[in-house]
């Protein structure tokens, strides 16, 4: 009896608790309707691989932060849809002086920030001055990475006086003039980076504190990003989703969906399943292995035009890679087509050099090393290393835009190298930080897989990154090459840069510090009812034309 009484008491208690709980809190639901009700309106849910790190793009350098930033913010310069080439955005046009030191921008009329502040020349200068005057605490690479890299200095700190930014002048309401201390041919293209997008000076003044102990967690960086873009920030439920609402006062084409939700799903297979099940409408960085399944299920898979490069690096600090004949033998041993077919997504292009064809300075006359196992064997014999063992480092458990399945890529390369008589000693490490540490931070590696995704259309952003100076990764010193890259970086116009980079590309392929394998195409996937998504090789994808259902 006693236990029956207890049971009854417990049941009654539970029922009472449920009654008390139900309705004890206010629902915060908006009344503007839910879900995707037919074409136009509705919600577009997109899955990236991670959350944004913060909402102020000036302090970001990662793709996930930029993905959200591109919906909220706009720069002076954008890109031509579907290409990496610069195009007018908030600036309708620009002119530069002959010496390459002065750029005058004519700004778009009638543009307002989301908080009602006018977008004008004063606002442009407020942004340039803000970047230049960033306090020392945010000048490091984990915050103002892009400004620091591109403009090479700030008003204060270690890099004081070394920067190439001189001043910004509001020469009219809608005319802003930027003066540089040195020519910078990539200046216009660089302005298409979200890190250099225009932010509301009023909102920055009110909510941002660049000198805060941690700018990632300021009010502006977490809750008040204010730009001019087609979507207005609504909320960030950390670890869960970022919600953006349509900007009905947008100066351009007003977005078709009411709401955008950006969620993070780190596992590539889980992202693919989420698209297939309709949990999300779209997802980025789809693994090649998941593509056939998605296509069979009637989903759309869109490869981006490749703006990447995947290469097989060779550390010249480690024998026998210091011998050019060995490097040439390895280049001849590789069947790039087979590598792409077995481990890279559809749309991948074979690489002949370390930049995609759309980048200034690409050269169609560089030395190419055709697939020729016999020639490879002969070169290895000549170098006296036939049958030698080579260390081959590759990462595991990672999917990069230029290397979606490194284990598969390694396996194909391994069999090709063994086919010419080399013995391969595999060394696998998890991507971060172990693999990157070993390959880019120490001499303890041999052959290795690595690559790059271009940030914007700039030659130095490819070859300059790889071969601009002595690195642990490649382990060589080639002063002539380093000097040529420094010179090319400093010339004022793209036209003058072209022959210099063409020559550099030819030199690099003679010197062969690595074998460029391919320009892999990172893939996006969407549900069958998603329309209007414009892919961009530099990920400059704005969702105002997207419709769902």
């Amino acid at each position: 009896m006693r236990s029956k009484g207890r049971m009854r008491l417990a049941t009654a208690g539970l029922a009472a608790a449920a009654l008390v709980l139900a309705g004890c809190a206010e629902s915060e639901r908006s009344d503007d309707g839910e879900g995707n009700e037919g074409a136009g309106g509705g919600t577009f849910v997109f899955a990236g691989a991670a959350e944004p790190e913060l909402l102020d793009p000036a302090f970001a350098s990662d793709g996930e932060t930029f993905r959200v930033a591109r919906q909220i913010f706009e720069g002076l310069v954008g890109t031509e849809p579907g290409t990496p080439d610069p195009a007018p955005l908030l600036a309708e046009s620009w002119e530069n002086s002959e010496d390459g030191l002065e750029y005058t921008f004519q700004l778009r009329e009638g543009v307002k920030f989301h908080d009602g502040t006018d977008f004008d020349a004063e606002a442009v200068c407020a942004n340039f001055d803000r970047w230049y005057n960033f306090p020392e605490s945010v000048q490091s690479d984990d915050f103002a990475y892009y400004y620091g890299k591109l403009f090479r200095g700030f008003a204060t700190g270690e890099k004081k006086g070394k920067g190439i930014y001189d001043a910004c002048e509001a020469s009219g309401d809608l005319e802003a003039t930027i003066r540089l201390n040195e020519p910078f041919a990539g200046f216009i293209a660089a302005l298409s980076l979200p890190a250099l997008s225009m932010q509301s000076p009023t909102a920055l003044e009110k909510y941002q504190d660049d000198a805060a102990p941690n700018v990632n967690t300021t009010e502006y960086s977490t809750a008040h990003p204010t730009g001019t873009g087609p979507f207005v920030f609504d909320s960030w439920d950390r670890g869960n989703r970022v919600t953006l609402k349509r900007n009905d006062d947008y100066w351009g084409e007003v977005a078709k969906v009411d709401t955008v939700q950006v969620v993070a799903i780190s596992d590539p297979a889980a992202r693919a399943t989420a698209v297939q099940n309709g949990d999300v409408d779209g997802a980025d960085l789809i693994g090649p292995a998941d593509i056939p399944g998605l296509e069979d299920a009637g989903m759309q898979v869109i490869p981006r035009d490749p703006f990447t490069v995947l290469y097989l690096g060779m550390n010249q600090k480690q024998k026998p890679f210091d011998d050019i004949k060995v490097r040439q033998a390895i280049a001849h041993a590789i069947d790039k087509e087979a590598v792409a077919a077995a481990s890279l997504p559809e749309g991948t292009e074979i690489a002949t050099q370390f930049m995609p064809q759309s980048v200034n300075g690409w050269n169609d006359e560089v030395t190419e090393y055709e697939y020729d196992p016999d020639r490879a064997k002969q070169l290895l014999e000549e170098a006296g290393v036939a049958g030698t063992t080579v260390e081959f480092n590759y990462p595991t458990g990672v999917s990069r835009p230029y290397m979606p399945a490194p284990e598969d890529t390694f396996n194909v390369l391994r069999s090709q190298l063994e086919a010419v008589g080399l013995k391969v000693k595999p060394v696998a490490d998890v991507w971060t930080p172990d693999y990157l540490d070993k390959v880019t931070g120490s001499a303890d590696h041999g052959l290795h897989l690595l690559g790059w995704t271009g940030d914007y259309n700039d030659s130095d952003n490819f070859v300059g990154v790889f071969f601009g100076g002595e690195t642990d990764e490649f382990g060589f010193t080639n002063q002539e090459l380093f000097d040529k890259l420094t010179e090319a970086r400093g010339v004022p116009t793209l036209e003058e840069q072209t022959p210099l980079y063409e020559e550099i590309n030819a030199d690099v392929m003679e010197f062969l510090p690595a074998v460029p394998l391919a320009h892999p195409a990172p893939s996006l996937a969407f549900g069958a009812d998603v329309e209007g998504y414009q892919q961009s090789p530099v990920n400059d994808e704005v969702w105002n034309q997207v419709t769902v259902g």
Partner: protein, 334 residues
């Protein structure tokens, strides 16, 4: 009882101090450098040096430890190197997700496991017993990640009946108050949101709860089988007590002791299972965040989270010890 609880709580202090030292040493012994992990492929020697300086990683280890302990004493567990968010704040945000998942998994394991184990023990040697025993063996040896993938394949890809990622449909405009999504839905009477969250719980909870379920089945079966052979059970039956009363008062109650211990231990192990389950199902909880923090070598997050988990684990086991006294009056806690 109160003295027992207080003494156990006091004993936790040296354990936690020891653990903080071990953790501090362990995360730093992991190969790889947080600065490089943070800066990724764009890392330059100067960039790495600046990050190390910013976070004090270049100080001598002892100095770093003292700074860490000093901050701990003021309740400051530091900030994530990756996101800059205070460790305590992110833990409070993500913990409800893990508890919601862990409790559901545990509930599943107990509600299904105890009756199955009991039934198997009462029907030893019969077909169903053999089936339950072999089934539990399969459950014990199936790795969580494999089961998770299998579940996704069957229920999401083939049957298309259950969601496989996130805690709630992202399109759902749900109010979140406690961050226990099902509870939030009930509290705000957003029934569709509560249902949606409950449906999202199914696959991860089954994946996470299967190993504890199988273990509980086996332990219950063994314990009940033991008790069934006891003289007092035979006596109770022979003096004419109804079999239901014998089962409940004499068999189950006595057999429950090892089962409760197991449940306590499994509750702790659910945290480790959550690391895999949450990652596979994109579940926003502390497990997924820990997994990412390991890859990032996010020292403050690793130290803080593991310390919190240790405290929770110790508290669960304390609760189990207290529960002994309730189940078995012979074991009065002292």
């Amino acid at each position: 009882m109160l003295r027992f609880v207080l003494r156990r709580l006091a004993l936790m202090v040296p354990v936690l101090v020891g653990l903080s030292i071990l953790l501090f040493a362990w995360v730093r012994a992991l190969p790889g450098d947080p600065a490089r992990a943070l800066l990724g492929q764009r890392a330059t020697p100067e960039g790495i040096a600046r990050v190390n300086e910013l976070y004090g990683f270049e100080e001598p280890l002892l100095q770093q430890y003292l700074t860490y302990v000093k901050a701990l004493l003021t309740g400051d567990f530091g900030r994530s190197i990756k996101t800059g968010q205070p460790v305590v704040e992110s833990f409070i945000e993500k913990f409800p997700g893990t508890v919601e998942l862990g409790l559901t998994a545990l509930l599943l394991a107990v509600v299904v496991g105890v009756p199955l184990g009991y039934y198997a023990a009462r029907h030893q040697g019969r077909t169903l017993d053999t089936f339950i025993v072999s089934g539990s063996l399969v459950g014990v040896v199936t790795p969580v990640f494999f089961l998770a993938i299998l579940l996704k394949l069957v229920f999401a890809d083939w049957l298309d009946v259950l969601p496989t990622s996130l805690r709630q449909d992202a399109r759902m405009d749900a109010t979140h108050i406690t961050n226990f999504y099902v509870l939030d839905g009930i509290m705000t009477q957003e029934w569709d949101a509560a249902w949606n969250a409950a449906v999202h719980l199914v696959l991860p909870a089954v994946a996470l709860g299967t190993i504890p379920l199988a273990i509980i089945v086996r332990i219950t079966r063994a314990a009940v089988a033991d008790v069934l052979n006891e003289d007092y059970v035979r006596t109770a039956a022979s003096k004419g007590l109804a079999s239901q009363v014998v089962s409940r008062r004499h068999v189950l109650r006595n057999a429950l002791l090892p089962v409760v211990t197991t449940i306590g231990l499994q509750a702790g192990l659910l945290f480790s299972g959550a690391v895999l389950t949450e990652t596979v199902f994109a579940w926003n909880g502390i497990g997924k965040y820990l997994f990412e923090a390991i890859g990032q070598r996010d020292y403050p997050v690793l130290q803080g989270y593991i310390l919190f988990i240790a405290v929770i684990y110790a508290l669960i086991n304390l609760a189990v010890d207290v529960a002994y006294g309730v189940i078995d009056p012979r074991v009065r806690v002292q």
